[in-house]
């Protein structure tokens, strides 16, 4: 990675015939300017995952013995860490909590966002532009300045240390995001369709459920996938609002319960991290385009 920039710079200045589009570039130049940096990027970006996976299946004696075993490979892969994780810790419970909280919070946020986005974008009620701006600003309010007062609020409501605390607080960052995204989607659907439905005597509710929503399914999937991964990744609320082990989510559980004392169980820690990441990665791999659309959509709008 360190050798790439000077190499590409010299390649650019040395060859005079590089003016032109990509397809005119010579192969050695392409290797230096494109493939080598790309390989470095990919290596650096993916190495932690490889390291996570290889550590998760290493027997304990190979884990720290770099003299006799190459650290980059594993000789006799073992499932002992994964077995320990699944049967001797509360890991399956955390996994279940994370799924429940993420699904409920996402569903709640999606329903509220569909209505809000429709109202702002299509009903154009008095002050809707300001509400839209408010939604955007709400998206920019970070959890790290909200968690202290929210903790008090959660405590006052009597839902401290329950899944409900997370299900109610996650929509604070999901609703602004989903609404903002869906507003963009609704805007792309031709208004004429709605006018036709109005002339045919459809109510606003019918327009929303029978005309707009079927057309906005890609947007709903994008928003849903992104919201799900956002709630899966959430940490500071889960750390603050959850006390008991059986209610923890994956990120909090792995960090606070698997790290005990001075001796780190690196194998099971890595297995925990790996299995906690897999659900979102699998979901992501099925919906890459939707995910990218929602990520860039939120920025572009």
């Amino acid at each position: 990675m360190t050798s790439a920039p000077p190499a590409s710079a010299t390649a650019a200045t040395a060859s005079d015939d590089t003016v032109g589009m990509d397809y005119l570039d010579s192969l050695p130049r392409r290797i230096l300017v494109t493939y080598l940096p790309l390989a470095c990027f990919i290596f650096v970006l993916l190495f932690p995952f490889y390291w996570m996976a290889i550590t998760a299946v290493k027997p304990n004696d190979q884990l720290t013995d770099y003299e006799h075993y190459s650290p980059f490979w594993v000789v006799e892969p073992t499932l002992q860490h994964i077995k320990y994780l699944l049967f001797e810790t509360s890991y399956p419970g955390w996994l279940w909590n994370t799924v429940v909280v993420s699904v409920c919070a996402t569903a709640l946020a999606l329903v509220a966002s569909v209505f809000a986005a429709y109202a702002i974008e299509r009903l154009r009620f008095f002050g809707s532009r300001w509400v839209g701006l408010g939604i955007f600003l709400a998206y920019l309010v970070p959890p790290s300045i909200l968690f202290i007062p929210l903790a008090l609020l959660i405590f006052g409501l009597g839902i401290y240390d329950t899944k409900l605390a997370l299900i109610f607080t996650y929509p604070t960052f999901l609703i602004p995001f989903c609404t903002w995204l869906l507003m963009g989607y609704f805007r792309s659907i031709p208004y004429e369709l709605e006018e036709c439905a109005l002339i045919d005597g459809a109510s606003r509710w019918q327009i929303l459920t029978k005309v707009l929503l079927p057309l906005a399914v890609p947007g709903l999937i994008s928003a849903g996938i992104f919201a799900f991964t956002l709630s899966w990744n959430e940490f500071i609320y889960a750390l603050t609002f959850i006390q008991s082990s059986e209610n923890k989510t994956i990120p909090v559980g792995v960090l606070t319960e698997l790290v005990r004392g001075d001796v780190f169980e690196w194998g099971s820690l890595m297995a925990g991290a790996l299995f906690g990441s897999l659900p979102v990665v699998i979901l992501y791999s099925f919906f890459v385009d939707y995910y990218v659309a929602s990520m860039t959509g939120a920025v572009k709008e």
Binding site: V19, M21, Y23, P37, L38, F41, L45, P48, W51, M52, T64, Y66, P71, V111, A112, F115, A116, A119, I120, L123, R124, F125, S128, I135, L140, V141, P142, S144, I145, L146, F147, I148, P149, L152, P171, T172, I175, P176, E195, N233, F235, I236, T240, I250, P251, V252, V254, L255, W266, L269, M270, G272, L274, S277, V280, V281, Y291, V292, M295, V299
Partner: protein
Amino acid sequence: MTDHAGTAGRAPAPPSFLSRLGQSRNALGLAFMLPAGVFLICFLAYPLGLGVWLGFTDARIGRTGQFIGLENYQFLWIDAVFWLSVFNTLLYTITASILKFGLGLWLALILNQHLPFKAFFRAIVLLPWVVPTVLSGIAFWWIYDSQFSIVSWSLIKLGVIDHYINFLGEANMARASVIAANVWRGIPFVAISLLAGLQTISPSLHEAATLDGATPWQRFRYVTLPMLSPIISVVMTFSVLFTFTDFQLIYVLTKGGPVNATHLMATLSFQRAIPGGQLGEGAAIAVAMIPFLLAAILFSFFGLQRRKWQQGGSD
């Protein structure tokens, strides 16, 4: 559009209250906004106000606070740890954002070229952003281990260094390490967002510039960059916001240590408020982050304005 509502309301029979309600866009708008509005007011706007109020009180866990005016802020003003955290936050945000921007733009430019398996590369590049920060943070924790760090081991085997690097145990090394982890996680977001911007730039502009004899650098400087600047400003605002309010990575890797050398404002606020029990003081630190966030938001706002102006639209 008001015409439609008007003609629909002029029904033969005098419309009932409910059907009139169904025609009023304001009433309907209110009804449709209700679920989101209630949530955002209860769990976002109210806590935001409550947080500001808490900053003026001496609330502790289990005890509602008394109003003490600016005492928390006066205390913070002479608190060296607080100022260290402000310095760390600025250093962390500025360094990480510049690196993320530079490397992200570079990666975006690479991915924008004609490549085999482009979609596949794009998909795996985004992985660090998709995986929960805490979990990849744990992987970095293991990579940064003082005794069994794979980075140290590889560098020793390559003959670059002769002893294990104490990644997280030494102040400046720890700062560099958490910044590196943050950059690792942030590059995909910047790269993929900028890639989306790059793909909207028409290739004919580049062809025209090439015909006029522009070098690759000139094409980048005078075609790509100006076309990309609106999206750069938005992406970087988001990136700066996320970095400035970062909590997870620091909490996983160092918990603010060694000797507060990596404490960010967010982690210090958590440290004082939740384990320390000083809710008022923690809230005051959180409130002290707001001016910086407002600055970033205003930056974004003017970025968006410029975009509209560039497109020649007034709306």
